[in-house]
């Protein structure tokens, strides 16, 4: 479980942040002594450090000096600074000037600051992890590039089609998505008995076409049926932590379709 170490001038802030961090499976320990903080930083090797601006008497130069000491003890630990919400614009700009360091972030203290700090901590942890990984560009070089036929001129996913009728078959969708046929019927807003009787019925083709479009995008992006199923079953940040499969069952296939289309088009979301 990741550990956060906090320099908290009055030990009040830590108590307000701790429950949110705990629900994100992050531990928090705090102190109001700078030297104890630096000692723990060296000994406990926390994953992220928090500080309050108040601890430095609201002086940027004191903050900078302390950051230098933190970097000396641990050059790569991400740091979050908590600032009271009523700081002036001039003060904010002074703080922004030290944000050049990418593992440093500033959060202002307001009603929902605990959730904001938890969110930013998760991002900093992710950033710290990714900066230890090889560059994505290098990874892509290692990947083999598979030449494909222009799928737009053919059936999007031939495996989903009935070989005799040529139509998309709900049974094959059920197989590829690894969901029971009655769940596919739910996605199609059709009766299970109807879908069971004629899984490639012409009346089902429009909605089955959406599912095929989703499958095609996923096979492109995830590279395999296993990857397709993993993505469909994983809670998704872009979907409010719902799984894509949940949305399909709610009859909101177009949301999943648009999300995948944006990724294929590289449109920042």
């Amino acid at each position: 479980m990741p550990l956060v170490l906090m320099l908290d001038d009055k030990k009040k802030i830590a108590g307000r942040i701790r429950p949110d961090l705990r629900s994100a499976h992050i531990n928090l320990t705090s102190t109001d002594e700078e030297e104890t903080f630096l000692d723990r930083l060296a000994k406990n090797r926390p994953d992220v450090v928090f500080m309050t601006y108040r601890s430095f008497g609201f002086q940027v130069k004191h903050l900078k000096a302390f950051l230098t000491r933190i970097r000396h003890a641990n050059p790569s630990v991400p740091a979050l600074l908590l600032v009271s919400g009523n700081r002036s614009l001039k003060n904010w700009r002074a703080l922004e000037s030290i944000r050049g360091e990418k593992l440093f972030d500033v959060v202002r203290c307001e009603a929902s600051f605990a959730r904001e700090m938890t969110f930013r901590t998760e991002r900093l942890l992710e950033l710290a992890r990714s900066s230890q990984d090889p560059e994505p560009a290098n990874r892509s070089k290692e990947s083999s590039v598979q030449e494909q036929q222009n799928v737009l001129l053919k059936h999007l996913v031939p495996q989903l089609h009935n070989t005799e009728t040529g139509r998309i078959d709900a049974g094959k969708v059920s197989e590829m998505f690894a969901v029971p046929l009655n769940h596919v019927a739910e996605m199609l807003n059709a009766k299970t008995a109807t879908v069971h009787k004629t899984p490639d019925a012409p009346a089902l083709q429009e909605k089955l076409g959406q599912l095929e479009h989703i499958a095609a995008g996923l096979l492109d992006l995830a590279g395999s049926q296993e990857g397709l199923r993993m993505w469909l079953n994983a809670p998704n940040q872009d979907l409010d932590r719902k799984t894509p499969l949940e949305l399909l069952k709610e009859g909101r296939a177009e949301v999943v379709e648009n999300l995948l289309e944006d990724v294929l088009l590289g449109q920042p979301g």
Binding site: W92, E96, F119, P136, S144, A234, N258
Partner: protein
């Protein structure tokens, strides 16, 4: 996030920033091939057709790009990608000179708009198309309607530390421009 009226006032007070440099996007090759040829790498009508983070459904033409190559690649990859092989993708860059940007990566700007990184990175896709706009689309609409800005700079949700821009192409006036960089001339596009 401030309400519509509050945003309209705040947006007249926030300092603008300008930027000169390169922007990036990573696109599946098939979208740059037939039947989409000639390719239109700076196509900006896709976002209003389906909605996007700062573009409501039916909103203004908007071009979304990343500020660096790695962020462009992250935005074009599934978060749990397991692919050992993948179809070809094209990363292209565009030279951009933008003089009126709202910079949401700055904390003081977030403070003036009464928003947070969490809200700016929140999910917008599940909002009801006939209900109230999600906060980021409300902001995007206010920014466009203000007529003051041609672009918004915002933190990437896919790559912490990376930033993206949405450019309201209808608001780009010379000397501002965006132009695809391709010395071989395979990809072309310039706005305006």
């Amino acid at each position: 996030m401030l309400d519509e009226d509050g945003l309209a006032i705040a947006l007249t007070r926030i300092p603008i920033v300008s930027s000169n440099g390169s922007l990036y996007r990573c696109v599946d090759l098939k979208y740059l091939s037939a039947p989409y040829s000639p390719p239109r790498p700076l196509y900006s009508l896709g976002a209003p057709a389906t909605g996007a983070r700062f573009t409501p459904l039916g909103g203004p033409p908007s071009l979304y790009m990343a500020e660096d190559h790695a962020t462009a690649l992250a935005e074009a990859t599934l978060t749990i990608a397991t692919a050992s092989s993948m179809p070809p993708k094209v990363v292209f860059s565009a030279k951009a000179s933008l003089d009126v940007i709202l910079d949401l990566t700055q904390n003081y700007v977030q403070q003036m708009l009464e928003t947070s990184l969490r809200e700016l990175s929140g999910s917008w896709r599940l909002s009801n198309p006939t209900g109230p706009l999600p906060p980021t689309q409300l902001l995007g609409k206010a920014v466009f309607d203000s007529g003051r800005y041609s672009a918004i700079r915002y933190p990437s949700t896919k790559r912490p530390g990376g930033n993206c821009l949405v450019i309201f192409t209808g608001r780009l006036k010379p000397p501002s421009f965006v132009e695809v960089y391709d010395p071989d001339g395979n990809l072309k596009g310039r706005i305006p």
